[in-house]
Amino acid sequence: MKFIAAAKLPLLLERLGRHSQVYAPVAVDGRVWLSPWTGEDIAGGYVNPVNSLKTLVYPQTEAVLEFEGGETDVTVREASPPAPQVIFGGRPCDAAGLDLIARVFMEGPFVDELFRRRREATTIMTVACRQAAPSCFCRAMGLSPASERGSDVLFFPGPEGYLVEALTEAGEQILEQAAGLLDDATGDQARRACQELPVPLAGDLNTVRLTPEEGFEHPYWEHLARRCRSCGTCTYLCPTCYCTALFDVTRGTRGRRLRGWDCCQFKDFLLMAGGHNARPQKKQRVRNRFLHKLSYHPANYGEQACVGCGRCVDNCPVCLHMAGVLKDLGEVERA
């Protein structure tokens, strides 16, 4: 285990920036975002950045391919490979979320090359949490403020600096670039850093695994969905939501096929050209979102697709969020 003094952190990022695009937590108009870092003050004191790690590894819009030419003569090129990037300052919950969706993209009969290439070009340097917001519920989802899942390097913040631990080979390689900035951690430093770790609010969530037979037609879904405004706030902020659409954008004779986030709560999400819509009702869409995370995803991957980051809790304009649904489902099951 290594130690880096707080004052040396910018030096570390600067050095990593010579070979990679570096992202770090930066305050923009009062809120902290993981932003391309060009020497700004590195924000502290935040619980979780507005954007999760997902947004940088699985960007909101990315090119799948480029094409050029006319109807009788077209050439197609794969999108160019991503540049290496290092992300500092994400939280363990987000890193776990990224690993969770990485399984979707990398397992199964097809491997999503876009995701794989960018994930492999990315080194994730996670900072363990020193504080929790009322909306945090990572413990309820089986994680903790210092979970290692999904991180290449884990930073434990202490009063004078960070304990630094490489968790993967990529993490070790990146720390090699930091030679001279890192010291071997003393036992005292380790003890003090780890002591500072708080316990985020676990809440009294009753995590349940609903199967369609048990709860699919329960009136609860109607009750819940009435409140929903069908916006995409929850899914776009969620570190484990990954729905996308593909679309072509043309400029003259050149064009690109892009892949962009989409949201299962939008009413036209499943609208087909002929007019058929498999989930025209808000109730169906809300239910699908929660059952996807709590039932369908576990059926395929053996784990629930939520890491308790609390973004939906903080940002849903009408408080329709996973923590609440988990509480409610406890009630439903008891009733």
């Binding site: 006319g70 109807e71 043309t250 400029r251 003259g252």
Partner: protein
């Protein structure tokens, strides 16, 4: 995949001088879907049209773009040519490389680049155009003429003589309009009433003309071929059907009042007609002047009337008339007198306007045709005429020339000299505008034969001194200040639209210019039409005009009406708005944006949606712009089509 042909016109040297037309054709050949491109000196010519037709046949073209002059010039020509070759005429687009390109640029390279861009845009649009079919509208072959002045009467007579019924609405109790107030007319010095009264009589007895005098058009709905006009008849308080026109009432009425017709100079009566030859020869009680209406006592007229025609309880009545076309001939009036403080108008009785001078000259006027000044009845020995009183004066909001004043002022000077041979006329003027047959000669006659003294310059002030008026101004030719002592000052006041015009324009949904004159569809090529199909213009409603021009335009409007009536059914332009009902949220905010009230409600199973009355719709597209849902589309100008144009240029 459409097969598009591009035809680049030289327009002689109009386009070819500035634009490399061969270069444009060459560039067109590489545009998506273009299978043919050629140039020609004049595609609008018959051989040019034949080239287009042949290419449509030989190259199996199903879209055509013609790079040429403005679509307002030859779009119809080219659409017809395409139709003759079997192509739907709405699959033809014009790229305007003349007005929008060659005429406004001088750099050949840049102009050529722009021409290519314009063609590119239209090629992209035409690809998304859909074949459209004109639909037919029935025609009601009756016409409404609004205004019973010389223009309105002429139009009514021309149309009625061709065998179609006319409803002629006149605001005043009698026909004649402004012309009835005039004494003589330039440049012939004919007596105005001598040439007017045969017309009024002809209108009155024409079996196909229904005259609605003392009436106003309140509302108009419908569209070309099928208008409905709501016409209100103002209460005359005399039953005109009973009245025999003996005018005993006028004779016996004890109440003398100022007469508007006599420009406030001569006495009128609270009941009566404006002038002896009035048609219809039926009296009206002027409520605001009538002793009975003001005090409840009198009723002399009712007692004297031999046929009991006076009816103090008469009320306004309205009726609807169905017509297929409308001619607007609402004429002009002169600008309000309170505009001319510096000339003392309204303050000094001997400062009068030109219409008042007409009345002083008229044998039916307040002085029986003898020129006497209003203050003391003396015959004026020196008269100053001030031209451009209000006209050509941006400060008074009338930057335009009233056109008729130069001529009638010369006439006034002439008439004055004929009646007061020792009198002297001075005329302050800016320029003399005497374009017209024998007009310049007429002005010269006033100067040479009748001794009118023209002073070029502006009058600064008019003020009284020793019982006369001092006119103070600058002679801009000599640069000297001038002072003229005058017994009478006559202002050639600016002509402005008649007072009823704004309300009527609104009822008709026809545009007006910033002064309130009706707008023609095209100032040169469609001077008697409005942008609303089926509504035509005649006379000074459009802009100040003299009598001969008014008559000519009235006959022009009549010809347009007759052309319209020559068909069993009208072909309506299919470029109208349509509603995608599945996108319409039924908010109906399209409705207040529609200048033609073409948007109606339609009930679907679960909600109301908008629908467009294609007969009323003029294809202006306001509703399409207002529709946030994107449900309202203008055919031929859909979002997809317009965006294709934009994208072809910008992306």
């Amino acid at each position: 995949m459409p097969r598009t042909g591009v035809f680049v016109c030289w327009c002689g040297i109009n386009i070819a001088k500035t634009v490399d037309v061969e270069g444009v054709a060459a560039a067109s050949r590489s545009l998506p879907g273009v299978v043919h491109a050629e140039t020609y000196k004049y595609f609008c010519s018959e051989p040019g049209q034949n080239l287009i037709k042949e290419a449509i046949w030989e190259k199996r073209l199903d879209r055509v773009v013609i790079a040429t002059c403005s679509p307002s010039m030859h779009q119809a020509t080219f659409r017809e040519a395409a139709q003759a070759a079997g192509l739907n005429p709405y699959l033809v687009q014009i790229a305007n490389i003349r007005e929008q390109c060659s005429w406004v640029h001088s750099n050949r390279e840049e102009a050529t680049g722009k021409a290519v861009a314009l063609v590119t845009a239209m090629v992209a649009k035409v690809r998304r155009d859909e074949p459209l079919q004109a639909f037919t509208l029935p025609v009601n072959r009756r016409v409404l003429v609004i205004g019973g002045g010389i223009a309105g009467m002429q139009a009514a007579l021309d149309i009625a003589d061709a065998g179609y019924p006319v409803v002629l609405v006149e605001r005043e109790p009698n026909l004649g309009g402004r012309m009835a107030q005039l004494s003589e007319t330039f440049p012939t010095l004919d007596c105005a009433s001598c040439i007017l009264t045969p017309k009024t009589a002809e209108v009155a007895r024409h079996p196909l003309i229904e005259l609605l005098a003392y009436s106003e058009v309140r509302e108009v709905s419908g569209y070309v071929g099928a208008f409905t006009a709501t016409i209100a008849r103002k209460p005359a308080y005399v039953d005109w059907d009973k009245c025999i026109g003996c005018m005993l009432c006028q004779e016996k009425c004890p109440r003398k009042t100022p007469s508007d017709f006599q420009r406030g100079m001569g006495p009128g009566k609270a009941i009566g007609v404006n002038f002896p030859q009035a048609v219809p020869n039926r009296p009206v009680i002027h409520r605001e002047h009538c002793t009975y209406f003001q005090t409840g006592k009198c009723q002399v007229c009712a007692r004297i009337c031999p046929v009991d025609a006076v009816d103090f309880n008469q009320a306004e009545t309205t009726q609807e008339k169905q017509v297929g076309a409308i001619v607007v001939a609402t004429g002009y009036e002169v600008v309000a007198p309170d505009q001319f403080g510096e000339y003392g108008y309204g303050k000094y009785p001997d400062v009068i306007d030109s219409l008042a001078f007409e009345r002083l000259n008229s044998s039916s006027g307040p002085t029986d045709g003898v020129i006497r000044r209003p203050s003391d009845g003396a015959v004026p020995k020196e008269v100053v005429f001030i031209q451009c009183a209000g006209s050509r004066d941006p400060d008074k909001g009338k930057p335009y020339c009233s056109k008729i004043c130069c001529m009638y002022t010369a006439k006034h000077a002439m008439l004055y000299r004929h009646k007061v041979p020792d009198g002297q006329a001075y005329i302050f003027y800016m320029d003399i505008r005497a374009g017209g047959k024998r007009y310049e000669e007429f002005v010269q006659r006033a100067v040479e034969n009748d001794g009118a003294l023209y002073l070029r310059g502006r009058v600064a002030r008019v003020y009284p001194e020793d019982g006369r008026l001092v006119v103070k101004g600058v002679d801009t030719l000599s640069g000297q200040n001038v002072e003229v002592f005058a017994d009478l000052v006559v202002l050639a006041t600016a002509a402005v639209p008649s007072g009823g015009a704004p309300g009527l324009a609104q009822a008709l949904k026809v545009g007006t210019d910033e002064h309130g004159f009706f707008n023609e569809a095209h100032p040169k090529l469609r001077p008697v039409e409005t942008l609303t199909r089926g509504i035509f213009l005649a006379g000074s409603a459009l802009a100040p005009k003299d009598i001969s021009e008014s008559v000519a335009q009235a006959s022009g409007a009549a010809a347009k009406v007759l052309a319209l009536f020559s068909r069993e059914e009208l072909l309506a332009d299919p470029l109208v708005a349509t509603v995608n009902e599945s996108h319409c949220s039924g908010c109906f905010w399209c409705r207040p944006t529609c200048p033609y009230q073409a948007i109606e409600e339609k009930a679907l199973r679960d909600r109301q949606v908008a629908t467009v009355n294609a007969g009323l719709c003029q294809g202006c597209g306001a509703c399409a712009a207002a529709c946030r849902n994107g449900a309202m589309k203008l055919r031929g100008f859909t979002d997809e089509q317009l965006l294709a144009e934009v994208n072809a240029l910008c992306l």
